[in-house]
């Protein structure tokens, strides 16, 4: 994937399309180019711990694969870092967050944890810190939640009329709208609903964040049979279940072809990843995916 000078990559897509695996693949692909990569996952529970069969993925990044450091960006810890940064004195954070009332309010309050997460991700670009990473790949939430995350800064800046939080929120919003530094990757699969969501999300990202977007189509099914072979088998096969199986394959590929056509009509250049029918995880699975991200995919391939 040509990410040139991009510093921050947001990976999103409909639930269940394989965002996390694609995000990890992009991280590995960038690392192969010699970049030092931070792969960030959001939320309370680490996906990559079980995926890479490892332990100890925490807020502090750790090098799980060569040149790829993984960090679990929990809202709580981001908020703590954020508030500490603002208040300068860590002790004050304790006072603020040990207060039962404040704690309840801050955990429910809109946008605060989103702002801290985005604040952390953009801190290098905003020149708050000098990052040791060349690029950050963020395995963001699924589309709906991802939008809520990305819209938080602009929302917050409307809530606060003045004050440091407003300036901070605007600063973050400007960064995530800067296509020279930030890139968006939309992951989809060749099915109707994920596709529809991808098209909608693409338009929203363009409109609201002036985003530079790449589309990755995951789980492309292929029987490796060309159409001549399928026609040949149709006349050749006699046993009922063999006929049924062939019919299953043909139907599945036919339905998929329609979706892929629709996708490539809208996006002239996409990346495609084949469905591997193996119980792979971790490095083994990434090894099959990473080469497929090195060049665009065309419909004639399938």
């Amino acid at each position: 994937m040509n990410l040139a000078q991009k510093k921050l990559i947001f990976v999103t897509g409909k639930g269940g399309v394989g965002k996390s695996v694609v995000a990890a693949s992009i991280a590995v692909e960038q690392a192969k180019l010699g970049k030092k990569v931070c792969l960030v996952e959001l939320g309370g529970q680490s996906f990559y711990e079980s995926f890479f069969e490892t332990r100890g993925i925490t807020y502090e990044p750790s090098e799980v694969i060569p040149l790829v450091h993984i960090s679990l960006l929990t809202p709580d810890e981001s908020l703590r870092e954020f508030v500490t940064h603002y208040l300068k004195i860590p002790k004050l954070y304790e006072i603020l967050f040990q207060n039962r009332i404040m704690k309840a309010f801050l955990s429910a309050a809109p946008a605060l944890s989103e702002i801290s997460i985005l604040g952390k991700l953009t801190s290098d670009i905003r020149e708050v810190i000098v990052s040791e990473y060349d690029v950050i790949v963020c395995d963001t939430y699924s589309t709906g939640h991802a939008l809520a995350l990305l819209r938080a800064p602009i929302g917050l800046s409307q809530t606060f009329k003045v004050g440091p939080l407003k300036d901070h929120a605007m600063g973050i919003h400007n960064v995530i709208c800067d296509p020279s530094k930030v890139h968006y990757v939309l992951v989809t699969i060749p099915e109707e609903l994920p596709l529809k969501e991808t098209l909608e999300m693409f338009d929203t990202l363009k409109k609201e964040f002036k985003a530079d977007v790449d589309v990755v189509c995951n789980l492309i099914y292929s029987s490796e049979l060309n159409s001549a072979e399928k026609t040949h088998l149709k006349t050749e096969l006699k046993e009922q279940d063999a006929v049924d199986f062939l019919e299953y394959v043909i139907q599945k590929e036919g339905a998929q072809h329609e979706h892929l056509k629709q996708l490539t009509n809208k996006f002239p250049q996409i990346y495609g990843i084949k469905h591997v029918f193996k119980d792979f995880r971790g490095q083994e699975l990434l090894d099959t995916i990473v080469p497929q991200l090195e060049r665009p995919w065309f419909l004639t391939n399938s």
Partner: protein, 357 residues
């Protein structure tokens, strides 16, 4: 059909599951089946992607309780509009329309009702309670908002409840904007320090807006609390069942196990598990395709190889699911729906899906 028993017995079915497993299509298929059994059934979904609309072939689903043509029974569908449900809720709570409008205009409320953690879930449950209380339906099927983990749905409203707790309200109801000596004197030292910090972070205008918001809704607190308790009663009622919809891979099984456990702990009733797109029908049979013996046929060899590869792949998952099924209590329905290679987002597709229930 396996799920008929549930559709006959329950008043409310809540379909949970992580994103991308087919919750919406299956909720619609369950609704369709319930109508076929002669029920008056409402299917509710809360999803910005208009997925139920899509699955039911409806273009505009913003109206509530929209009739879907069926041969038997009565099927209604609706897509929850979060903002509107929240606004309606405020109108019903407020003593006068003017009081309601004041709250609706408050920027804190506007943020709360759309961006607050868990507000989608809260709205879904509020609307569920409303539809249930109306007594209009034999059965209501709620398709829950997509969450990363199935349990998030039940955990989210708790966050909102804390916000409306008396202690928090009281705190914000003090005359913050003036920050006079008296109000600071009323707080304990910790709260005082915390408050000063919040003001430093957010600016005093924000604090006064929050203060305004809470003072506008201060008298509704009891109603809110009662409502919350009622929702909880409904969810733990005998007539309410949870259906976990899950996909066919080992990660999803772990999630299903966790979900089953958490439901039990929370006092909720897991009534059924549907494993969607479990395995294609042919993967179960020992197919004659392997016996076809024409080794010189290149295409046939390719097909055979593909068949074996797929079959092995599905068998591994199948074994894991069989083990899980054995762990379940006897009264939890367990159903595997095969991967139907055709499109299910049409009324015929849904009927086809329904046949598998």
């Amino acid at each position: 059909m396996v799920f008929d028993k549930l559709l006959e017995e329950k008043k409310v079915l809540i379909c949970c599951g992580s994103g991308g497993v087919g919750k919406t299509s299956l909720s619609a298929a369950l609704g369709l089946r319930a109508a076929e059994l002669g029920k008056k059934v409402l299917v509710m979904t809360i999803d910005p992607a208009k997925r139920l609309a899509n699955a039911l072939g409806l273009e505009n689903l913003y109206e509530i309780e929209k009739r879907v043509p069926t041969q038997k029974g009565e099927l209604y569908a609706e897509m929850l509009d979060m903002k509107r449900t929240f606004d309606d809720f405020i109108y019903r709570l407020a003593p006068t329309p003017e009081a309601a409008q004041k709250v609706l205009a408050n920027i804190v409320y506007q943020q709360l009702s759309t961006a607050l953690n868990g507000s989608q879930e809260y709205t879904a449950l509020e609307r569920l309670l409303q539809a249930h209380t109306s007594g209009k339906f034999d059965l209501i099927i709620l398709d829950t908002p997509p969450t990363k983990h199935a349990m998030d749905f039940l955990n989210a409203p708790a966050k909102i409840h804390t916000l409306f707790q008396e202690s928090i309200m009281k705190w914000f109801l003090m005359p913050f904007s003036t920050l006079d000596k008296l109000s600071l004197g009323l707080m304990n030292r910790g709260t005082k320090a915390a408050f000063k910090m919040l003001e430093r972070l957010a600016g005093s205008e924000f604090i006064s807006t929050i203060s305004e918001f809470f003072s506008a809704i201060r008298d509704w607190q009891k109603t809110l609390r009662d409502r919350t308790a009622e929702v909880h009663r409904l969810l733990t009622n005998q007539g309410t069942g949870f259906v976990l919809i899950t996909g066919f891979n080992s990660v999803k099984i772990e999630e299903a196990r966790f979900f089953e456990n958490s439901l039990k702990k929370g006092g909720y009733q897991l009534s059924g598990i549907i494993v969607n797109r479990a395995f294609p029908l042919w993967a179960n049979a020992d197919s004659g395709i392997l016996k076809t013996d024409k080794t010189a046929d290149e295409a046939l060899n390719k097909l055979k190889k593909h068949y074996q590869e797929l079959k092995r792949y599905y068998q591994i998952h199948l074994q894991a699911y069989t083990a899980f099924e054995k762990e379940l209590r006897q009264n939890v329905l367990f159903l595997k729906i095969p991967d139907l290679s055709q499109d299910i987002n049409s009324i015929n597709g849904l009927k086809n899906l329904m046949e598998r229930l």
